[in-house]
Structure formats: structure tokens, C-alpha cells
């Protein structure tokens, strides 16, 4: 009855995901300043949590620098530890 129906084991990837790149390598940013809140906000979500590398697209070296800067900003009450609707 459904002889011609092809069963795929894995779902077909319809839309092609946007090619992610590490903005630090591209723009040659070497230092992530923990005082620059607007820039750090790009790497945290609404709850104030750090975005994983697969979403932020950073390379490992710069993701650690961002992580370090965000934790310093949280320590100095520039960024909240947890909140809702931060942006």
C-alpha cells in the first residue's frame, strides 16, 4: 500500500543554517573587556546565562575569554547572575 513511500532514518535538513564564524578572529578583537556590558550582552541569553559556543559561534579560545569577562562582570554587579527579560 505505501510501497513507494520512502522512510528516512534521519530528518532531511531543509533550510541551510547561517554559516557561523568567530567574530573575534574576523574582526581581530584580542581582549574582552569585562566593563563593556553592551558587548557582553551579545553572549548571554534573557536569563543572563552564557550562550554555548554552538550558538555564539565563538572559537574555544575566545569563548573562554568571554566566559571569564562575564563572570568578572557578574562579580562586580555589572551583570546579574540570574534575571528574566534581561534584554
Amino acid at each position: 500500500m505505501a510501497k513507494n513511500e520512502i522512510k528516512y532514518l534521519t530528518a532531511i535538513k531543509q533550510e541551510k543554517p547561517k554559516k557561523k564564524f568567530c567574530r573575534f578572529k574576523k574582526y581581530g578583537i584580542k581582549y574582552v573587556d569585562y566593563k563593556d556590558i553592551e558587548f557582553l550582552k551579545k553572549f548571554i541569553n534573557e536569563q543572563g546565562k552564557l550562550l554555548p559556543r554552538r550558538l555564539s559561534g565563538n572559537s574555544l579560545k575566545y569563548q573562554r575569554k568571554v566566559q571569564d569577562a562575564v563572570k568578572k562582570a557578574r562579580q562586580m554587579a555589572l551583570l546579574p547572575y540570574v534575571t528574566d527579560l534581561l534584554k
Partner: protein, 118 residues
């Protein structure tokens, strides 16, 4: 002589001249310990992201200096002893950080090239 950056949060009840007096106090302390001040940026009263010691605002002060490694220990003792200081943080600046601060001080990032959209 390493480069360090000290960020201090004072209690909001601090008056203007007390704020200046404590800035001078710590700057002189570092000079006395053999360090040299590079820059001082008093941010003034800012609201905190979360309450510290039941207060929701604080007076921020960012102070950049270069000092021998041994100077920070004495500085920390003074900061911990001072009641007006709610929280402080000393970070060591690597060469990229020093260069970043230098460029930022001379208006290098005027057109926000660093934060344009990915």
C-alpha cells in the same frame, strides 16, 4: 612591574569629597608601594545588577596602575579593612588589555567598530 586594574564599589552614602579623598588615598598608597598610576575613571553612582549589602546602588571607581607584584597584597588588606568599600576586584592586565585600554583612552573605538553586528 605588571599592569593591574582595580575596580572598587563604594557605598552610595559616600559624599563627593569622601569619594575623592578615598580615591587619592588608594592612589597614594600604590605610589608609596612603588607603583605608578596610569589612569583613573570614577564612574560615580550606578545602579547595581543585584543588591549588595542590602543596597541597590553603588559608586564605581576604575583605577589602572602598574605596580610590582608584591604591592597588591598590602592594597588588598587596606581595601578589606575599609568599611566604605563594598566590593573590590584587582585584575591583571595582559598586553592586549593594556593596548585595548590605551586605544580606548585615546578615543580609538569612537565609531564602535568592535560591536558591529556579526
Amino acid at each position: 612591574m605588571n599592569n593591574y586594574e582595580l575596580m572598587v564599589i563604594f557605598t552610595p552614602v559616600l559624599s563627593e569629597e569622601d569619594f575623592k579623598a578615598s580615591q587619592k588615598k588608594y592612589a597614594d598608597l600604590i605610589a608609596e608601594l612603588g607603583g605608578a598610576t596610569i589612569a583613573s575613571h570614577p564612574w560615580g553612582l550606578k545602579s547595581l545588577a543585584y543588591p549588595i549589602q542590602k543596597k541597590t546602588t553603588g559608586i564605581y571607581w576604575v583605577f589602572e596602575y602598574s605596580a610590582p607584584a608584591t604591592a597588591n597584597e598590602k592594597l588588598k588588606i587596606q581595601l578589606l579593612r575599609d568599611e566604605q568599600v563594598m566590593r573590590h576586584m584587582i585584575t591583571r592586565l595582559d598586553k592586549y588589555a593594556v593596548e585595548y585600554n590605551h586605544v580606548k583612552r585615546n578615543g580609538g573605538f569612537a565609531m564602535q567598530d568592535k560591536t558591529q553586528e556579526a
